[in-house]
Symmetry: C2
């Protein structure tokens, strides 16, 4: 605990990570009498709940991103730095960023998580996950290139492999991706091709547990399953993936082992905390859980270091009902605001400080086709009304930092009418890439192609 | 000339390139009794006149792109193929695309141009040009990363190099880029940084001839020069670039040679036609000009091959007043429509066919800061009214294929208020990239950085 002393330099709060946790902490500290440094390796805050929309061609990256500097431009005592924090010295109260070191009085770590393959890291090249803008553009490339390749393919078996999409993991991201791909194939693209019928596309959603959206109430899972089936998604529950290789996914249901040929496999099954958690654990006596999250105290600080806080997906907070809080945006936002107010109270010299309590206002997931599931605790609902509710909530939070209202209305309308305006296949390599790409080695054109167009 | 014969397969028109020329030809043929195949290596049409807006963070790529398949989805006899044409056999009437060959009855080549370094191709790594979406994202990365690097730089000399931007070539693209960067530095970003004052940015626009916008009337060039100066752009005319090396641009004005240190150099000085023009010239008796453009007959066909047409930036058409037509969108659009109607007339058996005539409806260029120059021939005007005219014309053409009206209104508003919402620094490599990047070798952080965030 640190007290403000007159004629001293202002209390310096260093926040690492500009996601929901870090940015909400920075916003809540913007009028406090502290100096704030926010460090991120990206120059923008990403609204991750809509990232699957970028991956499926409905939105552009900028539609769901806000430059950190512009969000915080009015907070004159807040400095934004672009960089990667590689180490921490809790005794000297310093963090290290490349050759630089920065001293802090209070430190907030909010570097989040990325997708994880449970030790099978070689699956990543065949089955990319969705955490960054670059991931989304890569997945968008693969999805739209698969339809293009199918259009040119003359062998019916290979054509069908190009038209088979497998999504591993039926949490919210997996359900959203599967629903969006089904909509693309069965509605948006249905008049766009001449050699293939995109309605022959197969979308498989694989889940290890016994129902999609396992964190939700069972009746909402049933509803989600029904919506997905109506959309044309084949949901396979109690299904484990045992191998992902070039074009072949091996699955196990009970004792039955099956191989499915598919050119496009997407990973939505697991996450691991950012490695900075382990670095912190090595430098302090903090412990990490299996997913690399730092076990935090009831006030989100690290054991023995009351001026170091860990929030959001990087934190394992189990003081509420024994289970760790889920890795969702509302948890990170509330934790960021809590830590900011705790620091302000400490500086005022308050001694009776509240512990963190997560106010769960509910959860929601969208399935596509103007359908969603909403669980507000006191009420659960599904279908079109749930979709509208989901849309409004997301538009509300998305425009909070940035005046994206018209863009969002346009998007809501496109989404409602199943148009997708951002179906660009981009990237430095393009066609050549498809060839070099392991997943796509059967793509026919481009032996010794000269760049012509 | 080909005549339609009953009970034969339909006349097959192959169009290579989905830019303004190719797409307008395809649209004009969509209801004709012909089979059309449109080939492009990208799956979208790019509205290139606004590409500099993507490069400077005001628009997203999808805002100025329309998926070719969706533009042509209602033309059931039109097939879109993703691929690169590498060769042509005019005797057999075939084009070659990777391993595939496609037979045509009429062929329209519209593969455009890309930027050229007049034989100094090694300048490209230091001074990227702006032709593709990937170019625009690369330039956006460099511009915004330069401000980030300046913010972290403590050496005043290096800081000033990061804040120096040189644009080579004061044609429309160069003027637009210079104006947009000046607006960014002096308005949009002015409150976003804490260590640097972005108003110290220097923007230099270099031009070999004696005035900016040389294709325009001299009084409009004077007006453009005045507008650029008001914006803070330093326009250097009669200035030749003799060398571009790591961080140093050497220029020659008369006999005076000067070296300018700048971390960001952008190339807007010259274009070369797509290599397919040379391939065609080798296979026929057609000739190419110095820029690689194919010399075409008065009906845009190739000498000796009345069923092969070359249009847009790939064509050198000098039958109007001795000078080749400029490489602008209206020329390509009119040529595409002309060739489509010529093919339809040929199929009807018309014998008296019109020659191509370009109806020049004027030219316009935007300078920024709500200022533009417009030359409609019978009237010339500048300033805010010209800017509004420029905006409306561009919105009109941009929404022609695609319902982007709300996006465009939002953009017009942002542009008017000097907000830029797409200031994302993206790319696979990010900070590491800055280090590896030749241009940016002085960027300080990131020795042995571990990916942490």
């Amino acid at each position: 605990m640190v007290k403000a002393v007159k004629n001293q330099p202002p209390h310096h709060v260093v926040i690492v990570g500009g996601g929901f946790g870090g940015l909400y902490a920075a916003k809540a500290l913007s009028r406090a009498r502290v100096k704030v440094t926010l460090i991120d390796k990206r120059n923008f805050h990403l609204f991750q709940p809509l990232l699957y929309q970028v991956a499926t061609g409905a939105l552009s990256p900028a539609d769901i991103s806000s430059p950190l500097r512009s969000v915080l431009s009015k907070s004159k005592s807040t400095k934004v730095l672009l960089g990667e924090v590689s180490d921490i010295d809790p005794q000297q109260q310093k963090i290290f960023m490349g050759g630089e070191e920065i001293r802090y009085d209070s430190l907030i770590l909010a570097t989040g998580a990325k997708h994880s393959y449970f030790g099978k890291d070689h699956w990543e090249e065949f089955a990319p996950g969705l955490k960054t803008v670059e991931d989304a553009i890569e997945i968008r490339h693969r999805i739209f290139m698969a339809f293009e390749a199918a259009e040119k393919e003359t062998d019916p078996e290979k054509r069908s492999q190009w038209l088979t999409f497998i999504i591993v993991g039926a949490g919210p991201t997996g359900v959203e991706l599967a629903g969006a791909i089904a909509e693309l194939a069965y509605h948006t693209l249905k008049d766009d091709f001449r050699s293939i019928d995109t309605k022959e596309t197969r979308v498989l959603l694989l889940e290890g547990l016994d129902r999609p959206l396992p964190p939700f109430a069972p009746e909402l899972s049933r509803e989600a399953q029904a919506s997905l089936s109506r959309l044309g998604v084949n949901v396979k529950t109690k299904t484990l993936v045992t191998s992902i290789e070039d074009d072949i996914v091996t699955i196990k249901q009970g004792d039955e082992v099956t191989q499915i040929a598919a050119k496009t496999v997407l990973w939505a099954a697991g996450v691991n905390a950012s490695p900075l958690g382990k670095v912190l654990a090595e430098r302090t006596s903090a412990e990490c859980d299996r997913a690399g999250r730092v076990m935090v105290e009831p006030d989100l600080s690290v054991k023995g270091y009351p001026n170091i806080f860990v929030i959001g997906d990087l934190a394992h907070f189990a003081h509420q009902n024994g289970k760790p809080l889920p890795g969702v945006a509302p948890v990170a936002m509330q934790q960021g605001e809590y830590v900011a107010s705790l620091i302000k109270q400490q500086l005022r010299g308050d001694t009776k400080l509240p512990l963190f309590y997560y106010a769960d206002r509910g959860s929601l997931a969208v399935i596509g086709q103007n359908s969603a599931v909403v669980d507000l605790g006191f009420i659960k609902f599904t279908g079109f009304v749930a979709w509208l509710f989901w849309l409004l909530i997301h538009i509300y939070f998305l425009i909070e930092f940035d005046n994206k209202l018209l863009v969002m209305i346009q998007w809501g309308w496109n989404y409602f009418t199943q148009n997708r305006r951002a179906r660009l296949i981009t990237g430095k390599e393009l066609l050549q890439n498809v060839k070099a790409d392991h997943r796509n080695k059967d793509y026919t054109p481009a032996q010794n192609i000269q760049a012509v167009m």
